[in-house]
Symmetry: C2
Subunit: 107 residues, 2 copies
Amino acid sequence: MSQPHEILFKTLADPTRRAIFERLCRDGDQTVAALTARAGISQPAVSKHLGVLKQAGLVRDRHEGRNTHYSAELGALAPLIDWTNQMAGFWQSRFDNLEDLLKRMDQ
Amino acid sequence: MSQPHEILFKTLADPTRRAIFERLCRDGDQTVAALTARAGISQPAVSKHLGVLKQAGLVRDRHEGRNTHYSAELGALAPLIDWTNQMAGFWQSRFDNLEDLLKRMDQ
DNA sequence: GCGATCGATAACTCTCTGGCTATTGGAAAC
DNA sequence: GTTTCCAATAGCCAGAGAGTTATCGATCGC
């Protein structure tokens, strides 16, 4: 029953985690070490964040020797876009109903 | 320096709070009592959530006698839409750069 | 093989927050 | 004016989660 946007909001609510995702979107493929260098937090903390992002489907990992590369999965943002559109839709349909009402009252 | 989408992600990360906002989008204007009836939590908890939503600019309040009505501010979602578009933009421009590179290599 | 490096896991701490009850301030009803 | 009702505030508590250090498994360079 849990909606797909639920996990996205929770995951992207943390600024550090969002920053990691943004960096992967901007600059593409990155190793954990490269991400840690810029994150300003410890390597285990970065790994944990990457785990959460992966769980949410926002990133993929690719193993290459002893390095692990992460990359953003842009498609994972779709449920978020859907949700905002849905909210806008509710708004619009309420507005339409009001218009209909006024039209009927005008008869 | 704090981006406008920061507070939106934080605010909408909580399911109860998001449910309140969704309800206001769907059904429009609601009193605190009406929202409390459906929320499954105490009235003070609902009031606190409404305070956070208001702080984020996601809702407006309107006082009418001893009742307080809340309504959704749909425009407040704009920074969220902007952010997702920006991520998509980063993605696209990296793709374009790759195309350019391949084109140059092809010469 | 051996030491060094990369990344994940474990175990712990500390803060932040979402929930509660109790109370208060106003506005209506009587 | 007193009581009743609505919503906000205060104060408290428990759980979640973001950070830390320590450690381990695996892979590379020598």
